[in-house]
C-alpha cells in the first residue's frame, strides 16, 4: 500500500480508531493488532511475500531466545551466523542473484570460456533490504549483549513488521523501537498533532516535489542522447530533488504515522542539502542506514582507528557496500565509490567532524564561506546522483560528457517546459521553507505555531490544496525498489 494512495487514506483512519478506541485496553492485543494491520498493509502489494517476513521473524526470534540462554561462545557465534545467512540469503537471492550470475558469465566469456548459467525472473519483495537489516540488527545486538532477547513473540513480530516503516524505513534499532512495544501507549495530543504535521509535509515533499520532478528527470534521463548539456544538467537537478523529496517524504510520513500510534521512530533525514561538506552530508542523509553500516560494519572493521591504509580500506568498504545495498548494478557501486573518494580527504585530514551543528544557527542567512561550502557540497552530490540514476555506467559517462559539452550554454529543451517552470518555482519555495525550518525535526514543525489559528489553518489548507492541485503524476516511492 502506498502512503500517497486512496487505499492508505482509508486504511489509516480505520486502523487509528480501532487502535485507540477498540483495543486500547490490552497491550498484547494492541501489539497483535499492529502485526495484523502491518500484514494487511504489506499484503496489499503481494500477500505471497508475507511468508518471507514471517520466516525472518520466526528465525530471528528463536535465535534471540537461544542466544539469551547459550553461554558457549562458539555456539553463540554459530547462531549469529545462521541469522546472518538467513537474512542476507534472502536478500542475496531476491536482489543480487541475477547480478552475480550475469557478471560471472560475462567475466568468464571475457577469458573465452562459455559458462551456461541461467538468470531468473525474480520479483524483488518490497522493503526486503529494510526489514532484513532491522531484524539483523536485533540478533547482532543480542549477540553482543547490548540487548536482552525478547520473550514476547508478538512484540517482536510487531517490531519487525511495524507498517509505517516496514517497506522503506527508517531502519530501526531494536534498542530504540522494541522496548516501545513493551510499554502501554497512551494517547499524546501534541505528539499526534506533530505527527499529522509531519505527514502533511511528507506528502508535500512526495506528491508535489518528487512526483513533479520525476516526470522531467525520467524524460531527460530516458532520452539523454537527444538532449543538450543544459537540459542534462537540469535533468540531474530534477533527480536530486526527486530523490530527496521522495525518500525523506516517505520517512516523514512514516515517522508521523508512527507518532499517531504513540511511537517514536529515529530521524532519517536532517536537511542534507544544506551540508557544508560530504561528511556532514552523510550524517544527514538516510541516517538510519548510515548509522547501521557504521555500527555493524565500519566499527567492527576497525573504523577510523589504525593506519592510513586501514582507514582508506574501511571507508571504501562501507561506501561501496552502502552503494550496493541500493541495488544490483555497477552504477550504485560507482556511486558509493565516488562518495568514498569525496569523503576520504576529510577523514585523512581529520576534518570529517568539522560541522556537527546546524548551519547558520540562529541566523537568517549563511555567511559567504558557509554559502559556498553548501554550494560546493551540493554540486558534488548532484554529480554523484548521475551514477545513481543512470541505467548503466556507459549511460552515466555519456550523460556526464553530454553535460560538459558546448551545448551546456544552449537553452534547455524538453517537453512540457511550462510545467517544468512551475516545478522549479515550487522547488524554490520548498528550499526556502526547508531552510527556515532547518533547526527542527522537519521544516514545518514549528512554522506558524505562534500564529493565530485561522492563519495557521489557512497555511495547512494551502499545503493540502497544493498537494491536490499541483501534485505530479503518482509515482512509486523510489526506495521501494531497494
Amino acid at each position: 500500500m502506498l502512503f500517497n494512495s486512496i487505499d492508505f487514506a482509508i486504511f489509516l483512519p480505520i486502523v487509528f480508531v480501532l487502535y485507540w478506541f477498540v483495543i486500547n485496553k490490552n497491550l498484547k492485543w494492541q501489539n497483535a493488532f499492529i502485526v495484523v494491520t502491518s500484514y494487511v498493509f504489506y499484503g496489499w502489494w503481494d500477500w505471497r511475500f508475507l511468508s518471507l517476513i514471517t520466516f525472518s521473524i520466526v528465525v530471528d526470534y528463536f535465535i534471540g531466545v537461544f542466544l539469551g540462554k547459550e553461554e558457549n561462545q562458539r555456539k553463540r557465534k554459530l547462531l549469529l551466523w545462521i541469522s546472518i545467512c538467513v537474512n542476507l540469503g534472502f536478500l542475496g537471492f531476491f536482489k543480487y542473484y541475477n547480478f552475480f550470475v550475469d557478471n560471472f558469465v560475462a567475466a568468464f566469456s571475457f577469458f573465452g570460456m562459455d559458462i551456461k548459467a541461467q538468470s531468473l525472473n525474480i520479483i524483488l519483495p518490497v522493503g526486503i533490504s529494510f526489514y532484513t537489516f532491522q531484524a539483523l540488527s536485533y540478533t547482532i545486538d543480542v549477540y553482543k549483549r547490548r540487548l536482552e532477547p525478547t520473550k514476547d513473540f508478538i512484540a517482536f513480530a510487531a517490531f519487525v513488521s511495524f507498517f509505517p516503516q516496514l517497506v522503506a524505513g527508517p531502519i530501526e534499532r531494536a534498542t530504540n523501537l522494541l522496548p516501545q512495544f513493551y510499554k502501554k501507549r497512551t494517547f499524546d495530543y501534541s505528539k499526534a498533532v506533530d505527527g499529522l504535521r509531519q505527514i502533511l509535509w511528507g506528502l508535500f515533499k512526495k506528491v508535489v516535489i518528487a512526483d513533479n520532478c520525476a516526470q522531467f528527470a525520467n524524460q531527460i534521463f530516458n532520452n539523454s542522447a537527444d538532449m543538450n548539456g543544459s537540459t542534462l544538467l537540469l535533468g540531474v537537478l530534477f533527480f536530486t530533488f526527486q530523490i530527496y523529496g521522495d525518500f525523506s517524504g516517505y520517512s516523514d510520513i512514516a515517522i508521523g504515522t508512527a507518532r499517531l500510534f504513540g511511537f517514536d521512530l529515529m530521524r532519517n533525514f536532517n536537511f542534507p542539502y544544506f551540508s557544508r561538506d560530504i561528511a556532514e552530508f552523510w550524517r544527514r542523509w538516510h541516517i538510519s542506514l548510515s548509522t547501521w553500516f557504521r555500527d555493524y560494519l565500519y566499527i567492527p572493521l576497525g573504523g577510523s582507528h589504525g593506519g592510513t591504509w586501514t582507514k582508506i580500506r574501511n571507508t571504501f568498504i562501507i561506501f561501496i557496500v552502502s552503494g550496493f545495498w541500493h541495488g544490483a548494478n555497477w552504477t550504485f557501486i560507482a556511486w558509493g565509490a565516488l562518495n568514498a573518494i569525496y569523503f576520504l580527504p576529510l577523514l585523512l585530514t581529520n576534518k570529517n567532524r568539522n560541522h556537527l551543528g546546524t548551519v547558520a544557527q540562529g541566523k537568517l542567512l549563511p555567511d559567504a564561506k558557509e554559502f559556498f561550502s553548501i554550494l560546493f557540497t551540493f554540486g558534488l552530490t548532484v554529480f554523484a546522483w548521475i551514477f545513481f540514476r543512470a541505467e548503466n555506467l556507459g549511460h552515466a559517462f555519456s550523460y556526464i560528457s553530454g553535460i560538459f559539452s558546448s551545448s551546456l550554454f544552449e537553452m534547455p529543451k524538453f517537453d512540457r517546459m511550462e510545467r517544468a517552470l512551475m516545478t522549479i518555482i515550487l522547488t524554490g519555495v520548498f528550499v526556502v521553507i526547508e531552510w527556515i525550518g532547518r533547526e527542527d525535526q522537519f521544516a514545518i514543525q514549528r512554522l506558524g505555531l505562534t500564529w493565530k489559528r485561522p492563519v495557521r489553518y489557512a497555511m495547512y489548507y494551502a499545503i493540502i490544496i497544493v498537494i491536490f492541485l499541483l501534485g505530479g503524476q503518482a509515482q512509486q516511492f523510489i526506495y521501494f525498489q531497494f
Binding site: 486512496i6 485507540w20 494517547f187 495530543y189 499529522l196 492541485l469 503518482a474
Partner: protein
Amino acid sequence: MKRFIKRLLKFSVFLIILFLALLVLYVKMDPFKVIKSYDSFYDANENKNGWVALNKDFVSTTTFIQNSKHTNYNSFIFGNSRSVFYQIDDWKKYLEPGSECFHFDAGLESLWALNKKIVFIDKHGFNLDNVLIVLDHSTITQDKPRHGHIFITSPPLVNYSNLLEFHKTFYFVFLSPDFFYAYMDFKQSGKLKPYMKKHGLITDLPQQYDIKTNEIRLEHFENLIKEERYYTPKLLSLFYDRDSLTQSHSPQIILAAQKKLFKNIQSILQKHNSKVKVIISPLYDQMKLNESDLIYLKDTFGEDNVFDFSGINEFTNDYKNYYENSHYRPHVARKILEIVYE
C-alpha cells in the same frame, strides 16, 4: 483524544465541504462523460462549439454494451488510434454479406487491454467471425494496465474492479487548475478560446461519428488536403528527417508477457473459428518489426494472416500518406485492406 478528534473534524470541515461541493459540480457537469449515460458520446449538436476529449476505450466499451442489446455484432476491428482509419465500409467489402461490424479501438491501446476486449466479447456470448487486429510497437509493448491517465482502460473491461481508481483519475484532472479554469470558461462563454486547446483536452476538431459501428471519421482533414491547405509549414515541421536508405529494426518486443497475451487471444479466436488478419502498421519512423517477433506472430496466427507493413516501403516513404508523424491516412488503410484480402 476527544480534543484531537474534535479539532481534526473542525479542521476538516472546510476541506470536506470544498471537496464535496466540487464533487457535486463534477458529477453534475460530467465533463468526461464517464458518470451519466449517453445515447451518443459524440453528439454533433452538443459538440458544435467544441468538446472535451473522451476516453475512447470507455466510449468503445460502453457503446458496445449499449448497442449489443439490439445488434448481434460478429466482426471487430481492434487497435489504437491508428486503426481508426480502417473504415468499416472499406472492410465490409471483404466480409460475408450481413456481417455486423464494430470498431473496438482505444486511444493508446495496449496489448493487455486488447486481450481484455477479446475476452470480454467472448464472455458476453458474441461471435468473433471476422477480426482485424492493427498492431504497432506501442500496442505490443504495453502488457500491463495503465494508471493515472484519463485515457486509461475502461472499468467495464475489468468488471468495474478499477472503478475507484478510474473515477479518481478523472476527478483529479477536473480539479487541475488548467482544465478547471478552461472548462468553466468554455461552459460559461460557450466559446472555445485558443488557450483552452493547449493541453488537447478541449477541442473543436470536426469529426463524424457512427454510433452503430463506433467509427470516427475525420473528413475535415481530407477536405483540407484536397484543397491543399493541410500541409502547412508548421505541420510539415512535425515530419522529422529519417534515414530512408538503411533499414533499422526494432529490438525484440514480444517477450514472455506478450506471448501469454497473444496465446490467449489466439485460443479464443481459434475457438470462434475466426477469420483473423493481423496488420503491422506502416509507421512514419520506418522502424522494421524485429524478425523474431514477426515469426512469432506468423506462428501464432498463421503465415497467411499476418502482414507486416513496417519499415521502409511505398507507404512509409511519402509523408503525404500521413496526417502527422503518427497517424496514416484512410487511403493507406484501404490499400492495405486490398493487399490483405486479395
